[in-house]
Symmetry: C2
Subunit: 382 residues, 2 copies
Amino acid sequence: MESSAWSAPVHEVHSTIAAMADSDRRAALATVVAVEGSAYRRPGAKAVIKEGGDGTGTITTGCLEDEVVELASKVIESGKPTVVTYDLMDDDDVWGLGVGCNGITDILLEPLDASFEPVASAYADDDPVAVVTAVESARDDIVVGNRTVVRPDGSTDEGGQLPISIVDAVADAAADLATNGKSRSIAVPGELVTVFVDGVAPLPVLAILGTGHDVVPLVECGKRNGFRVQVIGFRGGTDLATRFPKADGTGTTRVADLRTDYTFDERTYAVVMSHNFVDDRFAVAELLKTDVPYLGLMGPRERFEEILESYDEEQRRTVEASLGRVYTPVGLDLGGGSPHQIATSVVAEALAVHNDRTPGHLKAREGPIHDRVELGSTGRGP
Amino acid sequence: MESSAWSAPVHEVHSTIAAMADSDRRAALATVVAVEGSAYRRPGAKAVIKEGGDGTGTITTGCLEDEVVELASKVIESGKPTVVTYDLMDDDDVWGLGVGCNGITDILLEPLDASFEPVASAYADDDPVAVVTAVESARDDIVVGNRTVVRPDGSTDEGGQLPISIVDAVADAAADLATNGKSRSIAVPGELVTVFVDGVAPLPVLAILGTGHDVVPLVECGKRNGFRVQVIGFRGGTDLATRFPKADGTGTTRVADLRTDYTFDERTYAVVMSHNFVDDRFAVAELLKTDVPYLGLMGPRERFEEILESYDEEQRRTVEASLGRVYTPVGLDLGGGSPHQIATSVVAEALAVHNDRTPGHLKAREGPIHDRVELGSTGRGP
């Protein structure tokens, strides 16, 4: 597997799934459906393995990739989905010269054929969905790989393969997971079936209000770290799509039209960096009328104080009621001053806020480093 | 100026300086030599501007770049170094629709000719040096741009243009700045001259002990963020240079030979991620016999505890005496689990340790966000 494809961000994995579902070239999708012990990736981590072995996406840190590629070719050949359990908990293995990835990992392998198109369009849409797939079945009418795409309101997409009783039984969990983007396996009570419910939440959006040179490294860093990135200028700047080719979208607007021209919701992480005092002060006031959980403002603390002082009574009240969402000076305190270092500190801060973390050293964190989704899922790596 | 060249890390700026000093194509070097108020870059920030206007490196967030490019072409034409002061403190400008970069910035512009070769080789070497350049002179025998490369021991390189009395007067400051990589202007008492002392410290090294797929995004993230990156494998892995093309160096060794084959000093930030228990435990013990200020270990807390338990009495004592330098689980607590997100969290942590920062939100930091080098240098951006 080529290394940069291995570390492809989730949006690239999704677009590869869509491309392969719509292609003559055969491929398989590998998904981590359960982990116990210290696994590198969480349930829901995916890799597309094309016939011949090229892959996109990450299942493990490399220790299982060869086995998975081999199994993928069998699944492509047979057309039959399967779940395989890798048990690397063996003490001898840990102590010896083995692969050293301790933990038990269940991986679902499915042929990426036309039956995947509803899933692929679900990924491509910006609507939350849960992909519910049978991973264990003691019933004649359900085989491993049967799946149905479920919306948060409980409705299902065309082509669903699971009985409605199963879908109904997991509908609440599916709605939650579709919204928070997490994934887990559920043994459906009384149904002799275990399904993997893969929550596909829309990616968080990094909305950058500014078009300076310093926006380029921020766009790139945001994309790599799993944000959709939108660049918004206020000065009718030309050629934004050319200047910021990695951005998912670029556009210009008058700052007064900001909230009508663009959507700022609870998934939008906004960074105000027009470097123009008038535009920045207006943008801050407008953005705090929305539900953005994060508003980073480039510039020193004193500049934000000047902005506050420049507001009228009502604007100031609005802004001061939202100071918890205002991050200025923007970024984590890493001490770096180069353009890439500043981008790293800003994206790291947005990630921490998105994941509801207090961004100190992990070594100082109490409890497990991953949010607990399943018993025993406590570690990153090895 | 092309945007990705604008955000070039410092090592690329240095290699461009070396290339242009040794080239027929004419170019100028722009260096921030003093700032007051809220400037985007600190003293020592550099951009190379080639004849025609192509640039590499960052002086401001874009607000002065056009002016600097124009001035650079004059300096290239005249062959005469000059210092120019940009005063963007004007209230009208801040409030109006102007460039909005408030602060006073002094920029030194010099023709990048063959006289720059001693400086270029100083950059290329991994030895600390200070480049001392006259930026103000009321004397007949010294003109703006006269320079001498000074070593921490006070010795000077060939081709020095400044009188020895000036070099001696700033030798102590030069030694400090050469070591910490910071830069500042010094008015030399009684000499009617102000010099800019540009400390060029060797870049910090990110030493990655591991060769898995997950090393690739870490190499790239480390490079962008200003580290020299060394990848070290223990298993005689082939083709490391091909697999990690962005690394400055790759190699394999037996873990027992680690400290003899490689240098680990107070500038080395080590990340242990072989994913092999035996190799990791040996590497941790070996690295803690060196002066590395940072040892990040991939894997959950429990794994490090297992490693500790596996040591004999003496090894355990050595390691336990150094727990302050051990960062495990490695990285900042950002909550991200993708390969790029993990790389971001690790590099962010190494940066914070390198810059002696407590990595919380900048908004919560007491005092200025930059280390104070000159009075009034308090802000990042705008």
